[in-house]
Every structure is written in C-alpha cells, then in structure tokens.
C-alpha cells in the first residue's frame, strides 16, 4: 500500500521566487529526451504503459477506470453528473480545465505506479507525465513523429497499452510527422493577452465565456495551433484524437496535452499577462487520486509549482526562433513590459503583471465575404475580400506602424464553418495566391467541427487570426493590395503529400470570412 509522497528530484529545478520554499516539484520531461531515436524505452515510459494497462483493465467507472477518464472529456449522451462530458473548448476555460484534468490523471497514474512491485524506487518517487514537444527542429526532425513507445501494436508478445489503432496510418508507422505549420508557436507567442471580452479578438487563451462543454464561441491561439492541428493530424478522419468523445482514450492524448499545458508556462515565462484573478470565479471538479470528488479553483492553478510540478524546459519554441531568423529580427527581442511568472500578492510588481485585458472597443469590420468558400482536398476555392476606400485606409493604417509598437491590428475571422460528413483537416490559409511562408496566415484544424454542428452545441466553430505581420511583410514585398484581400487554402493532403483516404469527399464550407481592424480604443 503506497501513499502519495513527493520528493524533490533535483532542487535546482525548483523555480525561483516565492516558490523556493514551496513543496518540491515533480518534473514533466520531454518524451523524446526520455527515449531518443534508437534508444530502448525509458523506465518512465514503461511505467506509464503499465499504469495505462492497469486502467484499461480496471473497472468501467470511477477514478481507476480508463473509460471514465475518456468520458470526462466527452460522452454522448451527457450523463449530467458534473464529472463527465465536461471538456472545455473554444473558451478561456480550455487551458485551466485541461490543466486540472491532467493533474488528477497524473496523480492517479503515479499512485498506480507506486503500487507496482517491479518499478524502481526512483521512478516511483519521481514519476511525472511526460510531454511531447513536436515543435522541434526542421520538418524532418524525428521529434515530429509519434514517440516510439506509442507505435507498436505488440510489445514483448503482449498488446501495447500505448498503441491506438484509430490514428492516421502514417502516424503509427512513424513515416508521417507533424508539419511546421501544424506545430508553429508564432501565432500564440505573439499574443500578449490571455483573454478578451470580444469574441473576434485573437488571444492566447480564448475569449471570456461562460463554462461550456466543447462549444464556446472562439478559440485562443494556442488551442488552434498546435493543439487542434495535432489532434487532427494524429487522429485523421474518424480517428480517436479527432473526436472529443474518444480523444482521451488515446494514450498519446495525455502527452499532447501535457505539452499544451507546458506552452502555457512558456507563454507566462516569456510573454504573458495573466487575467485579473478577481474574475476567475470558476472552479473545476474531478475525481481525485482517492476517488473522491474534488474541486479546484481556477485562481489556484496558475502556477504549476503550487500543483507540485514543473517542466524540463520552458525555452522559447524553435518555430519562434526560426521565424525571427527568417524575418531578420534579432533573437534578443526586448523583454515585454509586463512579463514574468508568479502569482500572489507577496510578489513584487504583481499588480502590473495582472494588467486588464486588451483594448475595450470591439474591432471594426472592414470587409465581409459575399458567398461561401468551399474547402477541398484539391482545388479549394479562392476568395477576394474587396475593400471600399474608407475601409482600405483603415486597413493600411493598421499595417503602417512598425512592429510591436501599437495595439492596432488587422484581424481575420473565419466562421459559420460546416461539413457534410466528418471532415479531413487541417487546411492552411494563405494571404494571396502564392502559398509561401510570407503569405502563411495559419491553419484551420477543424478539430471540434463535428461537435460544433450538433444541436447540443451552442456555437459554431470560429477561427480568429492576427494578420498584421503577414500584411506588413507582403506590403514590404509589394505583394499586398489593400483594395482587396485574396485568400487561398491548401489541404493537409496537399501540404503533406499524404495520399487521400478512400471514399467521397465531404463538402466543407466557410460561410463567412471577415477582415477587421482592431483600434487602440
């Protein structure tokens, strides 16, 4: 019978500041550092596999049930028990809800591992959920492919608990990796605000909403890419990871979300402004490591050390460094005025860190599409958004300012998205007919599209992009015509060279595309 106890793996990994004297932290480590190409499985991964097997062989319900943890994310029909079918998407609860979700799952796995006779004491004392950092190196970096321990259907003559059949075949085979566009941090790393009152304003964490399962009005930048992209590329059409209801049943889900949780820490370390604590009145209820219902307040989950863990690395992502190099920006970008980690009144300068979110005036629309855009695997529609004289001047003004000096931004919103059948994805969006890096706006992962079309959902799927930098760069190259914004799209199949799946192609429509100018009011 083991009890939950915490031991410092290495005191040097404890964070600085007020948490120096806090309980020592478990360290979540990069799965590709634990098991690099060619290496045997690391004991931390073997222990995870054993815990997943125990859960899969466990009861049908309760905290020791794999099914339960999958159903916590999504379940149809809704059991209405306040525990299951609760995943938060397209809302500012996306990050904190998933943080608490992982926190309990990790503690449960650890307690199972601590009860196993053939696991070393070191692993028992230090085990933490690994993360999958897929934003590493160039397009052919092995870290972009599925971690080795998750690929084989059978290991040592027994079914591998970390394997899931319902992934894209190329992902399980290890010959299809996550592309640069699906993992890029450039968009979310540029968002200074965690949230906004305005649904059309891109943010890091998502717009202010009510607590709503799976169907809020708009996504934060990190929820779109890499989060949504990785779900869709790994799962593929009809795959586990492409479904709210089944995603938690793929063991890689937890390493993916550990990485998303880590990116929140990266953002807080290098960019972030936390939202005003007073506004964070929501709390999150889960079954804890003892099987009891336990409520954690949002305001208490901002700092991971208070939850007992840290990350191996919170460095600036590779894609951000690469983008700066491409655009000729010095790597030492001046530190943002309001940066830093830490929560609580005892830390100096804390009040400044909790600056209220963003501009207060809603952004103004300057152009709206006139007809739906069809997305196809090959030959998607292109779109011209025409601007009137006054609107053109507004759009130009937003791109006049030098980078990083003003709050004026040019925004792109794609909404009223529907599909006639479960879609494939993601789709890359480009500003202009030429589909190169300068013109790349972002992706439409389409994760959650099916769920958003259900009559149990209260919003459609909406994507918001900040296109200020793209417009500036294209303008400098003489490729930006402010009289009309031309948009083109490229499917995942075209981007990756993956063969089409069999069967018909669903009709995917984007009914509304809007261009907006966000002022400084």
């Amino acid at each position: 019978m083991s009890t939950l106890h915490q031991v410092a793996p290495d005191s040097s990994t404890a964070p600085r500041g007020r948490h120096r004297t806090a309980p020592p932290a478990y360290v979540r480590r990069d799965v590709w550092n634990l098991q690099p190409p060619g290496a045997p499985p690391h004991p931390v991964l073997s222990a995870y596999a054993a815990a997943v097997r125990a859960l899969k062989e466990g009861p049908d319900v309760g905290h020791l049930s794999w099914t339960h943890h999958t159903q916590v994310h999504g379940m149809v029909p809704d059991p209405l028990d306040g525990l299951r079918n609760e995943c938060q998407h397209q809302t500012w609860y996306f990050l904190p809800w998933h943080r608490v979700y992982l926190y309990h799952f990790e503690a449960i796995c650890r307690s199972i591992i601590q009860g196993m006779p053939d696991v070393s004491d070191e692993v028992k004392d230090t085990w933490a959920l690994p993360y999958w950092d897929y934003d590493r190196g160039p397009a052919d970096d092995p870290a972009r492919t599925l971690p080795l321990a998750f690929r084989e259907p059978v290991v040592d003559g027994a079914p591998n608990p970390l394997f899931d059949d319902a992934r894209r075949p190329g992902i399980n085979a290890g010959n299809l990796g996550l592309g640069l566009h699906s993992t890029t941090a450039v968009a979310w790393f540029a968002e200074q605000h965690f949230t906004s009152e305005h649904m059309d304003v891109p943010t890091f964490g998502g717009p202010v909403t009510g607590f709503m399962h799976s169907d809020g009005p708009a996504l934060g930048a990190v929820e779109r890419t890499p989060h949504g992209d990785v779900h869709v590329v790994v799962g593929g059409p009809g795959g586990s990871m492409f479904s709210f209801e089944r995603a938690g049943g793929d063991p890689i889900f937890w390493l993916h979300h550990a990485n998303i949780d880590r990116l929140w820490e990266v953002w807080r370390t290098h960019v972030g402004v936390d939202p005003d604590l007073e506004r964070l009145t929501e709390s999150f209820e889960f079954l804890d490591v003892t099987g009891a219902r336990r409520v954690l307040d949002w305001a208490d989950v901002f700092d991971t050390p208070t939850l007992g863990y840290t990350y191996e690395s919170t460095d600036v992502p590779d894609s951000v460094l690469r983008d700066r190099a491409r655009r000729g920006i010095r790597p030492e970008r001046p530190a943002p005025p309001i940066a830093g980690r830490g929560v609580g009144p005892d830390e100096p300068g804390d009040a400044e860190r909790r600056a209220p979110a963003g501009p207060t005036a809603p952004p103004e629309v300057v152009a709206v599409s006139e007809a739906p855009v069809h997305l196809r695997r090959h030959g998607s529609d292109e779109l011209d958004l025409g601007l009137g004289d006054r609107e053109r001047r507004q759009a130009l003004r937003a791109t006049d300012r030098p980078a990083d000096t003003g709050p004026e931004r040019l925004l792109l919103v794609l909404e009223h998205i529907t599909a006639s059948a479960p879609p494939t994805g993601p789709y890359a969006v480009y500003a202009g007919p030429e589909q190169d890096e300068a013109a790349f706006v972002g992706t439409l992962p389409l994760f959650g599209l099916v769920e958003s079309m259900s009559d149990a959902a209260s919003h459609g799927l909406t994507y918001t992009f900040d296109v200020t930098e793209v417009a500036r760069e294209l303008r400098a190259q003489g490729r930006w015509d402010p009289a009309s914004l031309h948009l083109s799209f490229r499917s995942f199949e075209e981007e990756s060279g993956e063969p089409d799946q069999d069967g018909g192609e669903p009709e995917i429509l984007v009914e509304t595309v809007r261009l907006l100018v966000q002022g400084d009011g």
């Binding site: 909403t209 009510g210 607590f211 169907d215 009005p217 005036a361 809603p362 103004e364 629309v365 152009a367 709206v368 006139e370 009137g388 909404e415 009223h416 009559d455 149990a456 959902a457 209260s458 919003h459 459609g460 009914e511 509304t512 809007r514």
Partner: protein
C-alpha cells in the same frame, strides 16, 4: 455611445412598447375599454367591480361574436405584437450587436431594423392563433373555465421548459448566421438571421408567451415572464435555471386556479 452600442435604439423601442401595453392593460380605469379587447373584467373571486388585471387575476375574454370578434382579433394581434416587442427585443441584443458590427457602420441601424422585422415576422403566426383563440373563447369555453385553461397552458409551458426541444433551442439561441456587409445581400441576410433567431426563440419561449397572452397579460405574470425570457437569453449558465423556472410556472398555475 451609438458607435459602441448600436443596440440602444432597439432597447428604446422595447421600452416604448411597454407604454401602450401599460395604458391598455394595467392603467386604472382603462382596462376593458376597447370593444372586444382582452379587457380585464376582474376575476370572479373579486368583489364584482371591474378591476384591471393588475395582479395574477386572469382576464376573462368578454362575450360577443360577429363584427366585435374581428375587431377583437385585430386588437389582440396588436397587443401580441407589442408584447413581443416589449418582452423579446431585449433578448435580441446579442444578435443585434453581432449583425450591427458585421455591417458597414453607415448602415448598422438599417441592419438592426431588418433583423428585428424578420424576428417579429417569425412570431406573427402564433400571435394570430392566440388572438383568434381569444376571440372565439367566449363562444367555446364557459367563463368559469377560463382560469383552468390558463393553468393548463402554464403547466404546459413548465413541462416544455424542461424538455429537450427547449434545451436545444436555448443553445441555438447563441448561434449567429452569416450577415453580409452592404447592399441587398446585407438586407436579405439580416432579415434571414432575424427570422431564424425568431424561430429559435419561438421554440424556447413560445408556450410561455402564449400562456401569458391567453391569460390576458396580467401585470405580475407579464413582468415575471419578461424576466425569465431575458435571463434565458442574456445570462450565462441559464440552462441550470430551467427547473426553477418550471417550478415557478406550476406554482403560478396553482394560484390562477385557486384564485
């Protein structure tokens, strides 16, 4: 102010609609004046003097058929439209703001007006049904049964609140439809959005509104229903309030029957 809050004229219109409603229905001495209108003739349990239906007392439709009945339908439909404007337009604010901000800023009020027109059109058929039923009621239903009819409708509205269609409608309330920026396309899309939104609201609140109208708009019930409608449309987490709303409606039905 108008630039950031283009919905203000809509709210002013809603507030203005309460004035004729109040004069026609609740102003002391005016109740029951128009021929064939849903005059408040007082509850049978009262002391006999005609009093306006200023409390929960149900207004019994006056007797009479023929030309008076047609006028009654017309007045009834007019009151219905006023009631929809007074009670439902505030709940249209989020949709109006969306539509306004998607429009060219020089035509925001036009967009909102067209949205509201489409919305009102969706409510009109039920208004005709209620007005006709009300005009025919004296012929078909003895006056003493009327409170029972109202109570049955209130219980029906309560059950409706708890059912799946109302829950789905509540969720669909938050959905937007494409609205175009300028020109005829913008006009058409605003009317279409208003109509769709009206149909969704009808699915959510239609039974309650019909019960209030058939009851003859007693003041307390009308105000309470307005608060229910606004909270459902505008307050986050309104779904969890549905059992409380249903309970309140059933209690109201009991009060109506027992007088």
């Amino acid at each position: 102010m108008r630039a950031r809050h283009p919905e203000i004229p809509l709210l002013v219109a809603a507030a203005a609609a309460w004035v004729p409603l109040a004069v026609a229905l609740w102003w002391p001495g005016t109740g029951g004046e128009p021929p064939g209108a849903w005059a408040a003739v007082g509850h049978p349990g009262h002391d006999g003097a005609p009093t306006p239906a200023a409390d929960l007392a149900v207004a019994v439709p006056p007797g009479g058929a023929g030309s008076g009945a047609l006028a009654g339908v017309a007045v009834g439909f007019g009151l219905w439209t006023l009631m929809v404007a007074a009670m439902m337009l505030p709940g249209l604010v989020p949709a109006a703001r969306y539509a306004a901000f998607v429009s060219d800023r020089r035509r925001r009020q036009r967009t909102i007006a067209l949205l509201a027109a489409g919305y009102a059109a969706a409510w009109a058929p039920l208004g005709v049904v209620v007005a006709v039923a009300h005009a025919l009621a004296p012929v078909l239903v003895p006056a003493s049964w009327w409170p029972l009819v109202v109570a049955v409708l209130l219980v029906g509205a309560a059950l409706w609140q708890l059912g799946g269609p109302a829950r789905r409608a509540l969720r669909a309330c938050h959905r937007t439809l494409p609205v175009r920026y300028t020109g005829r396309a913008a006009d058409r899309s605003a009317v279409r959005y208003g109509w769709h939104h009206g149909v969704v609201c009808l699915r959510l609140c239609g039974p309650l509104m019909a019960a209030v109208a058939v009851a003859g708009h007693p003041l307390l019930l009308t105000v309470a229903a307005a608060l229910v409608v606004w909270s459902q449309k505008l307050v986050r987490g309104a779904e969890s309030a549905r059992p409380a709303i249903a309970t309140g409606l059933v209690l109201t039905a009991v009060v109506v029957v027992t007088g």
